[in-house]
C-alpha cells in the first residue's frame, strides 16, 4: 500500500467514523441522560436517507431537502417522545427494548409501503461534485471532505451546547438527578423531549448527508444501529467524548479491515472476516474496561 492509498483510506476511515459519531452521539445522549435504550435510533438514520432521496427529487436541491428533512425529523422525535417514549421512563429497559423494536418493524414496513424495496441513489450537489487529484489515477472527492467538515462542526456545536449553555447545564443536571431538577422548577419533561428530538435529528441528518455516498437501501438503519451500539459500549454510556473517540477508532478499524489482506495458515482472514473486526475490538475493550473508555464505573 503506497502513501496515497494509505492517505485515502485514513480519510475514508475518519469520514465514516465522524458519520457514526453523529448517530452514536444521539444514542449515547438518550441513553445517558434519559436512561432510554432506543433500538429505533438506526431507523431514524434510514428515515433521514429516504427523506433526502424523496425531498431532493421534490425540491430539486439537496440543501432544501436537508432543511426540510431536519424539520420533519425533529417533528417525528417530538411526537414519538410525547406519544410513546415518555411512558417508558419508569419502566424496565426490557420494555424499552421491545417497544423500540416494534417501532423498527413499523418504520421498516412503512418504508417498504411508501418507497418499495429497491436501492436508490441521491445526486451529489453540483458545486461539490469535484475531486482533488492526488496522482494521475487517484483522486479524493470533495463531497467526502465536506461531510467530515460538517460532522466536525456539529460535534463542536454539541460540545458547546452541553458544556457552555444554560440549556446544556439543565440537561446535564437532569441526567444526574431528575427529581431535583424538577423541584427546581425546570420542566424536565420538555427537556427530555428536546433531547430525544435532538438525537433523532442528528441521526436523520447523518442519513441525509450519507445518502449521496452510501446510497439508500432497506435495512440500512439496523446496520448502523448495531455499529453505533459498539461505539457506545467502547466509548462509555453518556460520554460524547467517548463516542467521538470510539467512532473514529471503529471507522479506521472497519475501513482498514476491508482493504488489508491477512492469511493465517492458508485461510483468508481479511478482508473476508472484516465484518467481525469491530466486535473483536469491542471484546478487547470489555476485557480491559467493562464500563467503556470514558464510562463511569457502575
Amino acid at each position: 500500500m503506497d502513501a496515497n492509498t494509505f492517505l485515502i483510506q485514513v480519510l475514508n476511515g475518519i469520514q465514516y467514523g465522524l458519520l457514526l459519531f453523529l448517530v452514536a452521539s444521539g444514542l449515547t445522549l438518550i441513553l445517558g441522560i434519559m436512561g432510554i435504550i432506543n433500538l429505533a435510533h438506526g431507523t431514524f438514520y434510514m428515515v433521514g436517507a429516504y427523506l433526502a432521496f424523496s425531498l431532493s427529487q421534490h425540491f430539486g436541491s439537496l440543501w432544501l431537502a436537508m432543511a426540510g428533512g431536519v424539520v420533519i425529523a425533529v417533528a417525528i422525535g417530538l411526537v414519538l417522545e410525547w406519544l410513546l417514549i415518555s411512558r417508558l421512563y419508569y419502566r424496565d429497559h426490557l420494555y424499552q427494548v421491545l417497544l423500540t423494536y416494534g417501532l423498527i418493524l413499523i418504520f421498516e414496513e412503512l418504508r417498504s409501503v411508501v418507497f418499495g424495496d429497491d436501492v436508490h441513489g441521491v445526486a451529489v450537489p453540483e458545486f461539490l461534485r469535484v475531486s482533488i487529484p492526488l496522482t494521475e489515477t487517484l483522486s479524493y472527492p470533495v463531497y467526502r471532505l465536506w461531510m467530515s467538515a460538517v460532522c466536525l462542526v456539529l460535534a463542536v456545536g454539541m460540545y458547546l451546547l452541553i458544556q457552555k449553555t444554560r440549556l446544556g447545564m439543565m440537561i446535564r443536571a437532569g441526567a444526574s438527578n431528575r427529581e431535583m431538577v424538577q423541584s427546581l422548577g425546570i420542566n424536565i419533561n420538555l427537556l427530555y423531549r428536546l433531547v430525544f428530538a435532538l438525537g433523532v435529528a442528528l441521526a436523520a441528518f447523518a442519513g441525509m448527508i450519507a445518502a449521496p455516498v452510501a446510497s439508500v437501501f432497506p435495512g440500512m438503519g439496523n446496520q448502523v444501529l448495531i455499529v453505533c451500539f459498539v461505539v457506545v459500549v467502547i466509548g462509555g454510556i453518556g460520554s460524547v467524548k467517548g463516542a467521538m473517540l470510539a467512532a473514529i477508532l471503529i471507522g479506521l478499524v472497519d475501513t482498514f479491515g476491508k482493504v488489508l489482506t491477512l492469511d493465517i495458515g492458508g485461510f483468508e482472514v481479511l478482508p473476508q472476516m472484516s465484518g467481525m473486526m469491530i466486535y473483536v475490538l469491542m471484546a478487547v475493550v470489555l476485557l480491559a474496561r467493562p464500563e467503556g473508555l470514558f464510562g463511569k464505573r457502575a
Binding site: 420494555y95 416494534g102 413499523i106 409501503v113 467481525m276 473483536v280 469491542m282 467493562p290
Partner: protein
C-alpha cells in the same frame, strides 16, 4: 395450595390436548404445532435468563442458529445425520459459544448487557454471512432429516411428521419439567436472588458470576436444542436464523406470555406465532395487500402489548381473577 393444584390440572389438560392433537388434525396443523412447540422451547430457554436471572439478552438467536448450522455440517449433502450424535453435538456447540460470549458479556450489566449481547450475536451473524464456510448469505440446505437408529433399530423416524411432532412434544415436556426442578432447587433460588438483589447474594457468599454463567450456558444449549429441530423441520439454515430479528421476536414471546413463569414463555410462543399467522393471512382490503405488509401490524401489536400488557397474557388472567374475587382491592391497587 388450591391455586397450585388448579394450575397443575390446567397444565396437564393442555399436555393431554397436545398429545391428542395428531388424532384429529391435518398434516398442516401438526407441522404448525411442531413449529410452535420448538419456539416454545426456545422461549423457555430465554425465560431462564430474562425472567429468572434478570439478564435481558438480545442475542439469544445466535445459539439457536448455530445449532442449525451444526446440523447442516453433520448432514453432508443428501446424507442424513445421526440424531443421537448430532443433537448432543449441536447443543454442546451452542453451549460452548454461550460460554465464550457469556464470559465476556457477563462482565457488564443493565443497558450494557443488552447492547453487548446484541453486538456479539451480530458478530456470529457476520461470521456466517460474510465467509464462505456455510453458504454465506444464501444459507445452506439440510437435505435429510436426522436418523434415530440404535444398532439398526429405528424407534421413530423424523421424516414422518407425526413422529416429529411427538418427539418435539416429549422434549418440550422434558425441558419444562427439568427447568421446573432446577428452579425449585437451591440453584434456582440463588439465581432468582441474583435477579432481585445481586449485591445481597454476593455478600451471602455466592459467586454470582458463576451462577449467571451456568445459566447463560444452559440457556444457550437449550436454545441450541430448539434451533436443531427448527433446522431439521425447515430443512434450511440461513444467517437470518441467528439474526437479531429472531432474537427480538423470541424476547417478545417471553414478554407477551409473561416472563419468569416458564408457562408464560410457552403461551407467548404459541400466541405470537398465531398472531403472525393471522396477520399473514389477512385479506386484501380496498386493493391493499395487508398480508404483504404484516410486519407493520406486528410492530403495532408489539407496541400495544408493551404499553397495555405489562404482565403479559398470564398477568391478564391474574388480573381477571383478582377483579372477580376482590373487586374493591383491585381497584385500589
Amino acid at each position: 395450595m388450591r391455586g397450585l393444584r388448579a394450575g397443575t390440572v390446567v397444565l396437564l389438560a393442555c399436555l393431554l390436548a397436545l398429545a391428542l392433537l395428531p388424532l384429529v388434525a391435518e398434516k398442516y396443523y401438526i407441522q404448525l404445532f411442531t413449529k410452535m412447540m420448538i419456539m416454545a422451547i426456545f422461549a423457555m430457554s430465554l425465560d431462564l435468563l430474562v425472567g429468572f436471572t434478570g439478564l435481558v439478552s438480545l442475542g439469544h438467536a445466535a445459539f439457536f442458529g448455530l445449532a442449525g448450522y451444526v446440523l447442516a455440517f453433520a448432514a453432508p449433502q443428501y446424507q442424513a445425520a445421526d440424531l443421537w450424535l448430532s443433537l448432543p453435538l449441536a447443543m454442546v456447540c451452542s453451549g460452548l459459544l454461550a460460554l465464550i460470549i457469556g464470559a465476556l458479556v457477563l462482565r457488564t450489566s443493565g443497558i450494557y448487557f443488552i447492547m453487548v449481547t446484541l453486538a456479539f450475536a451480530q458478530m456470529v451473524f457476520f461470521l456466517f454471512h460474510d465467509t464462505k464456510i456455510a453458504g454465506g448469505a444464501d444459507g445452506i440446505y439440510v437435505y435429510a432429516k436426522p436418523v434415530a437408529a440404535i444398532a439398526g433399530w429405528e424407534p421413530f423416524t423424523l421424516e414422518n411428521h407425526t413422529h416429529f411432532y411427538f418427539v418435539v412434544l416429549v422434549l418440550l415436556a422434558l425441558v419444562y419439567a427439568c427447568l421446573r426442578l432446577l428452579l425449585n432447587s437451591l440453584f434456582g433460588r440463588v439465581i432468582v436472588g441474583i435477579r432481585v438483589n445481586e449485591p445481597r447474594m454476593k455478600s451471602l457468599g455466592y459467586r454470582t458470576f458463576r451462577y449467571k454463567l451456568v445459566c447463560f450456558v444452559l440457556a444457550g444449549a437449550l436454545a441450541g436444542m430448539a434451533g436443531y429441530f427448527a433446522a431439521a423441520q425447515f430443512g434450511f439454515v440461513s444467517p437470518e436464523t441467528l439474526g437479531w430479528h429472531q432474537s427480538g421476536s423470541v424476547l417478545m414471546m417471553v414478554i407477551l406470555g409473561g416472563m419468569g413463569t416458564l408457562t408464560g414463555a410457552v403461551l407467548g410462543a404459541f400466541a405470537m406465532m398465531l398472531v403472525e399467522l393471522g396477520l399473514q393471512g389477512l385479506p386484501v382490503i380496498g386493493g391493499v395487500e395487508i398480508a404483504k405488509h404484516w410486519q407493520l401490524l406486528m410492530g403495532a401489536f408489539i407496541v400495544c402489548a408493551v404499553l397495555l400488557l405489562p404482565q403479559g397474557l398470564l398477568g391478564l388472567g391474574k388480573l381477571a381473577s383478582r377483579l372477580r374475587s376482590k373487586p374493591a382491592e383491585a381497584r385500589d391497587g
